[in-house]
């Protein structure tokens, strides 16, 4: 009862305090430090423009956010103006979000490989990225030094080194030691990992830019078979159930030589309570025999709803949030990989954000998932892909069978066209 009275009162006072020019935006976004960063920047924008922004905090889980967005967008909800979007949602939400291409200017010279993820098959740019996810190989400097090993550049080298150190460490009594931890659960994370294996073996990107299904090739099969061999040898059997945090848990305990993970682990593993603080470094992911190092792109951007009644103001805010100045202003505090190439070279930022210079190489090896070219069907494509990959790493199928069957499945999904 009290609550009703309070909110009635609140809304009454609100109605009477409305001023004619101020516009109120609703902004759906997540929490955590990203959310905090967005809110701080937005506060500045509010001060500058006099408009007001309400934040709608979304669940931490990306798929929960996704469902909520979908419900809102399918019902053509005009209450939400701005969405924080994942880089793989371009194809899916392409027709529900406005094209931001006309608004791009010299202030927004975002790295082309990053921007391409937000570009639909029709060439519309439906979101402006503000941060990018760059997977890397984490390795233990102390262990590599102890056993006099080089930082691996190929998967084979990594496998060999991992096995060698794991055996030695176990012999020395550290029986929980593993060579390599990564993300093997049947979920989007496995799509990222497996795409890296396949692409770095020269096996293509599942569905190429022009829409051809390329997955059924020997390189791709070999890449998956390689990962299958890790399970139970250099990676725990349980890796087939791992997500990011499971891998980091083992890593932070000092029980892994190598880890494939996103930049977030850098700061967490450098905290005092981590056993590996100061004992590790990162490098570009290894490559296979016929390919080059590849990192599956992650990251988030801002997008404006087609059903928003305040698009102009919303676009203004989105531009404000993702331009250079905003990135410069926040990088020291929030340590998020930027979307402008020159920021990686900034010496000043490198002092506070020690990972930054190390990210430049991998940032050039970024490969977006083929979500733009598969448009609305990406969710089915990724499920089919990670299911196939999971079947290989759990030993149900070999790589060649899996990719052949995947090709058939993808053709069925494609149907008359993407």
């Amino acid at each position: 009862m009290k609550k009703i009275v309070l909110s009635l009162f609140a809304s009454l006072t609100f109605i009477f305090s409305l001023n004619a020019t101020a516009i109120e935006l609703n902004f759906a976004q997540g929490g955590g430090s990203q959310g905090k960063m967005t809110m701080e920047l937005t506060a500045e924008w509010e001060k500058k423009t006099g408009h007001k922004v309400n934040f709608l905090e979304m669940p931490a889980s990306t798929s929960d956010q996704y469902v909520q967005y979908k419900t809102w967008l399918s019902a053509q909800n005009s209450d939400v103006d701005i969405y924080k979007v994942d880089n793989v949602w371009a194809g899916e939400f392409g027709t529900q979000l406005i094209d931001l291409k006309p608004f791009l200017d010299e202030q927004l010279e975002i790295m082309p490989n990053v921007l391409s993820a937000y570009t639909t098959a029709k060439g519309e740019i439906i979101g402006l990225p503000y941060s990018v996810g760059i997977p890397m190989l984490y390795y233990r400097t102390d262990l590599l030094e102890k056993y006099n090993r080089d930082v691996p550049e190929t998967w084979d080298e990594m496998t060999e080194t991992a096995q060698f150190i794991q055996d030695k460490e176990r012999a020395a009594g550290n029986d929980k030691m593993w060579g390599f931890v990564w993300q093997g659960n049947a979920y989007e994370g496995l799509t990222c990992d497996a795409l890296e294996w396949v692409a770095s073996h020269g096996g293509g990107m599942i569905v190429e830019k022009d829409g051809t299904i390329s997955i059924n090739n020997a390189n791709a099969a070999a890449a998956l078979d390689m990962a299958a061999k890790w399970v139970g040898t250099i990676s725990p059997e349980g890796v087939i159930g791992y997500k990011e945090e499971d891998a980091r848990g083992i890593w932070d305990q000092g029980n892994a030589v190598f880890m494939r993970n996103w930049p977030y682990a850098w700061s967490l593993s450098n905290k005092d309570e981590s056993s590996v603080k100061g004992k590790f470094d990162v490098v570009q992911l290894p490559r296979g025999p016929n390919g080059k190092s590849t990192s599956t792109m992650g990251g988030w951007g801002y997008a404006v709803s087609k059903y928003s009644e305040k698009q102009e103001v919303a676009v203004d805010l989105v531009k404000f949030l993702s331009n250079r100045d905003a990135q410069h202003a926040t990088i020291a505090e929030y340590s998020m990989p930027p979307v402008y190439i020159e920021i990686y070279d900034n010496k000043e930022h490198a002092e506070t954000y020690t990972l930054l210079p190390l990210l430049k190489g991998p940032s050039q090896a970024l490969l977006p998932r083929p979500s733009a070219q598969t448009s609305g069907k990406w969710p089915q494509v990724t499920v089919a892909f990670y299911t196939a990959a999971h079947e290989v790493i759990t030993g149900k199928k070999d790589g060649a069978t899996a990719v052949a069957e995947l090709e058939t499945a993808l053709k069925k999904i494609k149907g008359k066209g993407w």
Binding site: K3, S7, E57, A60, T71, Y264, S274
Partner: protein, 287 residues
């Protein structure tokens, strides 16, 4: 000797049940008290007692507000659905009219539909409701709109269950008691208030607790119908707990939130236990 053996056997059974039921919860409590690194080490007893997760949730997060919202929704939903079902249960258990079995079956059939399937339909209905509501009151009382809508949705999902259970329980009350009251001159409404209500109290509390837990735990609809921080409910509140950085799962905070969420229910059930557990019927009903 035999008696002692029997005693030990009974205590043994009880302790097994307690451990079986409580251990995961205990483990959650323990995890919630540990720092972020200690979480990754398996152990049976906490290595440290650190209330930071609780402090964070209760003072720096929106969490207390979600508890209030959930309480509001739970209380409104449970009171409405129990009241409505109580009267319906009387009709369905006590009065012989045509189509009674059909009615019960239709109620059951409605609860057969997967809730996920009606989600979009309910959401569209919600948007219409919102428009309608705003047109009438011309006030943008969004939070309350969403919460009221949640109450409505939950009432709809709860009613098949509460009607059925209360009907079953009410059949257990001998019809002579009601007839005695009729002869004494009581109307149906009075019988429900003065005679059945006290007799059915344990059954009503049992049903209410069950309905309350269902409401308290619902996630999908709460996620869809509430959007602003001011009107989120607890399960959504838990889902909103982010790590400081992307991908990090803050186990400690999630477990602390779970403990905070579970404790009120446990307290409520303990307080009402006397009523729930006193047995459904007493005295002359038992003969």
């Amino acid at each position: 000797m035999n008696k002692l053996y029997d005693k030990i056997f009974k205590y043994g059974l009880q302790i097994i049940v307690i451990i079986f039921c409580v251990f995961p919860f205990y483990y959650a409590v323990m995890t919630s008290l540990e720092g972020s690194a200690a979480v990754f080490v398996p152990n049976f007893f906490p290595t440290e007692i650190n209330p930071k997760n609780y402090i964070y949730l209760l003072f720096e997060h929106n969490f207390p507000n979600t508890i209030l919202n959930s309480l509001f929704v739970a209380i409104v939903t449970v009171s409405i659905s129990i009241t409505i079902s109580y009267f319906a249960a009387w009709s369905l258990s006590r009065v012989n009219f045509q189509g009674r079995s059909m009615f019960l079956f239709v109620i059951l059939a409605i609860s057969m539909f997967p809730q996920i399937a009606v989600l979009t339909g309910m959401y569209q209905l919600f948007l219409n409701f919102k428009e309608f509501y705003f047109n009438i009151f011309d006030l943008r009382v969004k939070g309350i709109t969403s919460l009221l809508w949640l109450c409505f949705t939950y009432t709809m999902f709860n009613i098949p269950f509460t009607v059925w259970v209360l009907t079953t329980f009410m059949k257990g009350v001998p019809k002579e008691i009601e007839e005695a009251a009729i002869v004494d001159g009581a109307s149906s409404f009075l019988i429900l208030r003065k005679i059945f209500l006290p007799i059915m109290t344990p059954a009503i509390f049992t049903t209410a607790i069950m309905a309350m837990i269902a409401v308290w735990n619902e996630f999908l609809f709460a996620l869809t119908f509430t959007a602003t921080n001011s009107d989120r409910t607890i399960t959504v509140g838990i889902a909103l707990i982010n790590g400081t950085v992307e991908y990090e799962v803050p186990w400690g905070s999630i477990m602390a939130a779970s403990v905070i969420v579970t404790v009120p229910l446990v307290i409520i059930t303990l307080l009402l236990q006397g009523r729930i557990m006193s047995g459904l019927t007493a005295g002359s009903i038992k003969g």
